[in-house]
């Protein structure tokens, strides 16, 4: 049973990592526009919007 002491924390950490990733995705608005996201990849722009450094 000693293996549990190692395996359970590992499993939970991996799970927490996934959760953190999902929460980050939700917070950065990746679920806001499910219609647009699908078609956005069809419009590969050669000259993307420039990111100016603040």
């Amino acid at each position: 049973m000693n293996a549990l002491l190692l395996l359970i924390p590992i499993a939970l950490l991996l799970g927490l990592g996934g959760l953190a990733l999902c929460l980050w995705a939700a917070r950065s608005g990746q679920f806001d526009d499910l219609d647009g996201a699908g078609s956005r990849i069809l419009f590969d722009d050669d000259k993307p919007i420039r990111r100016t450094k603040p």
Binding site: A11, G15, L19, L23, A26, R27, D33, R40, D45
Partner: protein, 787 residues
């Protein structure tokens, strides 16, 4: 994909027909554009090297073409928000998006402006979030840039925008956390159950219980808040909704499980509690997302009504102010094609006013000096001066919005089926749990810990997972099925109310009919039509547009002058009303008409009709066959309404009604016990829509109308009404079956739990299987053949 196929065509294809190269509407023969605005828009796109837009796009014929109008370039700079050093951001509503290519075009055009840091247009909500460096006023230039492409832009107050997004975002986060907790706790619980056969020691079991508690308790605290909040506000209002037993069940389960874990007991119910919360959150999140979309439409409408005003000062200067800064008695100037920012009295001689936003009637009205004009209407004539009589909250638009809010307040009293069940269910369940707790101590002599465990098992087994899913599951399946067919449900109780309908009331213009005049071609020579179209091409009047649309070739004349309310004049040729053309024909005019008078030619009469939607007659017949009572309420003239009613076979009709009059008629019907479905499109229908038991609006209706309606249908076909009502009835039937099943399940499970025979394993199995049966039954709805 369409984009891939289109890419192989030469760019000139779009221009070979008499179609405007930019907006796709009919263009004069030989010309590439229908108007100067489109030519300018095309030039912008070419200049930025974005012409692939024209190949990639698919124009939606049911939406207005992307034609740049002078109307509604609202200067949004005042709404910009400073964020950080020398940076601003703003949320804009963009109207008139057709497809993904439009989104791409807007983002690309903005992205090439040197100041822009971020330009992201949400295709789902039509909301553009824009950030730039430099001065606040840059926003005005950027907004004009988008407007020049043919889209309408309006600023959204940041608060409006946030309020809509916040609730859904919160539910999504809660759902993710609950999902994580449910999966991991279940994993641990399965280990406990498997080990219960004998191999697992008590210490290991306790460890797994403690880990479960460490995951489940924080997750429940976080993810359970939406239910707790709703339950609390229901209790404070003095009634019980489904969230009350949910909240109590979850709380007690968590506490008892924690207590058991602390004492090293064999049973803990953490997995049941987290699973329950997760299932319920999934349903609630999906439901809110559908409705959030509808609500943002309303917010966008409010944004569009904020038109800046041009005030004429005493010294003759023109000054641009916000509508809020107007005061009664001010004189404002309204340019040709502009929307009125406030109600007022016309000071100029005469003009043409498009009132379609208010009445849904496509035909503009001629108004003379002294007439009262309403905010939101559009001046189609020459520039006019108007003296302000009311603004903001006091205008007709605001008045209608108030009527809508009032009527909706009445409808909020409607109790959902699930809530009606919950009201009886919650006290019963809690009484049984309490009774079994006392019973086990008093009758069986059990110690209080065992009795508590039995009571908790009762609460878990009855925790209304199946019951709480029974109605939403069928509603969700029905809503997504309808959404695929183009009908969007907005209100959570819409399906239930639609299932109870027995009377259907239609508006005429734009609902039963297409809402725009079409030329009757009978007996009109092609040469006459071409001559008329050559003159009509310059005018924005709907009748002129209809003439141009009907003509196969158009060679616009440049020497045309427009006389508002009368007609058009080009040299000796006149196109316009009977009197304007000097015709002494006493023939009866049934609908709108235009006369073409030329020297040496007999005058030609053009007659127009507002044709019925293609399947209106069939739909009315099918509804009548299904036993619905039908009525027609219109603001139009009696002669026209009588004609349409006779054509459709609707016996009960009324004409010339005001917005309040329509709502009163609906209320009268409701008083006689009828459950009324109102179908209408104009802003004048909005109060009636809100007053009816349930309501439906076409998607092309003004946004305020769609805001008041329970459901919105897209496309040309009125048959959507039949399938909506069919689906609503089927969904209601399945919801009832589900409820019956959930109650039957409880009838079996509760005695078992009271008798103390439910372990966590049995509870989890019973709960998930009953939920799956309910969801499975709801999915049956999706497999029915379309009506």
């Amino acid at each position: 994909m369409t984009a891939a196929v289109a890419l192989q065509l030469p760019p000139s294809v779009a221009a070979t027909q008499a179609c405007c190269a930019h907006c796709g509407a009919t263009a004069p023969a030989g010309a590439r554009f229908c108007c100067g605005g489109c030519e300018a828009a095309y030039a912008i796109v070419r200049e930025l090297d974005l012409d692939s837009y024209y190949l990639r796009r698919t124009l939606d014929p049911s939406r207005p073409p992307p034609r740049p109008d002078k109307v509604d370039v609202i200067e949004p700079a005042a709404y910009a928000e400073a964020c950080g050093d020398n940076q601003y951001r703003i949320e804009l509503a963009v109207h008139g998006l057709h497809c993904a290519a439009c989104v791409w075009l807007v983002e690309s055009v903005l992205g090439r402006e040197p100041e822009v840091i971020r330009a992201r247009l949400n295709a789902t909500t039509g909301r553009l979030s824009l950030a730039w460096t430099g001065r606040r006023e840059v926003a005005d230039r950027l907004a004009r840039r988008i407007a020049a492409l043919g889209y309408r832009v309006a600023p959204i107050a940041a608060d409006d925008a946030r309020a809509i997004g916040d609730e859904t975002a919160g539910l999504l986060r809660a759902m993710l956390v609950a999902g994580f907790a449910a999966a991991n706790v279940m994993l641990l619980s399965v280990a406990v159950w498997a080990g219960a056969a004998g191999e697992m020691g008590a210490a290991t079991r306790d460890l797994l219980h403690w880990i479960s508690a460490a995951i489940a308790l924080p997750a429940l605290l976080y993810a359970g808040r939406p239910f707790a909040r709703s339950a609390w506000s229901a209790i404070r209002a003095g009634h019980a909704n489904m969230d009350v037993p949910i909240t109590i069940g979850i709380t007690l389960t968590a506490l008892v499980s924690l207590h058991e874990t602390a004492l090293g007991g064999a049973h803990a119910y953490f997995e049941s509690a987290t699973m329950l919360v997760f299932f319920l959150l999934v349903g609630r999140y999906l439901d809110r997302r559908v409705r959030g979309r509808a609500r943002s439409g309303v917010a966008h409408f409010l944004a569009l009504s904020r038109v800046p005003a041009q005030v004429i000062r005493a010294d003759g200067r023109l000054e641009t102010v916000t509508p809020a800064a107007l005061s009664t008695g001010d004189r404002m100037q309204v340019a040709s094609g502009d929307r009125l920012p406030a109600d007022g009295v016309l000071v100029s001689e005469a003009t043409l006013i498009d009132t379609s936003l208010l009445t849904g009637e496509a035909m503009p009205r001629t108004v003379r000096r002294g007439a009262l004009l309403h905010a939101g209407t559009v001046n189609l004539g020459p520039p006019i001066a108007v003296e302000v009589t009311a603004k903001g909250e006091r205008t007709l638009v605001a008045e209608i919005a108030r009527l809508v809010a009032e009527a909706e307040g009445g409808r909020a009293a409607y109790r959902m089926l699930a809530d009606r069940v919950a009201r009886r269910y919650a006290p019963t369940v809690h009484a049984i749990a309490a009774a079994s707790f006392i019973g086990w101590i008093a009758l069986a002599g059990a110690d209080w810990r065992d009795a508590m465990l039995v009571a908790a098992a009762v609460l878990i087994i009855t925790c209304p997972c199946a019951l709480a899913l029974a109605v939403p599951a069928s509603g969700l399946v029905a809503a997504s099925r309808l959404a695929r067919a183009g009908t969007l449900l907005k209100s959570p109780t819409a399906l239930e109310r639609l299932a109870e309908i027995d009377t259907i009331v239609f508006d005429k213009t734009g609902t039963l009919t297409r809402g725009r005049p079409t030329l009757i071609r009978d007996g009109i020579a092609d040469a006459d039509l071409a001559a008329a179209a050559a003159i009509a091409a310059v005018s924005r009047h709907p009748l002129s547009r209809a003439v141009v649309e009907a003509a196969s070739t158009v060679n616009p004349r440049t020497d045309v002058t427009e006389h508002p309310g009368l007609g058009l004049e080009a040299g000796a040729v006149r196109l316009g009303s009977r009197a304007f053309c000097g015709i002494d024909d006493r023939a009866d005019a049934v609908g709108p008409e235009l006369w073409l008078a030329r020297p040496d030619h007999p005058p030609v009469r053009f007659r127009f009709e507002d044709p019925l939607r293609s399947d209106a007659v069939e739909t009315v017949r099918r509804l009548q066959a299904s036993g619905y009572r039908l009525a027609l309420l219109s603001g139009d003239r009696p002669a026209t309404v009588r004609h349409v009613a006779a054509e459709l076979g609707i016996e009960d009709w009324a004409a010339g009604l005001t917005p309040a009059g329509k709502a009163a008629r609906i209320a009268a019907l409701a008083q006689h016990g009828a459950r009324v479905l109102m179908i209408g499109d104009g802003l004048n229908d909005a109060p009636a829509l809100a007053a009816a038991h349930a309501s439906l609006a076409p998607a092309l209706a003004s946004d305020a109308t769609s805001g008041a309606a329970d459901a919105v249908f897209q496309g040309e076909r009125l048959g959507a009404v039949v399938s909506l009502l069919d689906t609503a009835r089927a969904a209601h039937r399945i919801a009832r079956q589900n409820l019956l099943f959930a109650l039957a399940y409880n009838a079996v499970a509760v005695p078992l739990a009271v008798a103390g025979g439910v372990t966590p394993l049995i509870a989890a199995l019973a709960m998930s299987s009953s939920s799956m049966v309910v969801v499975g039954n709801a999915l049956r709805l999706d497999r029915r053949r379309p009506a």
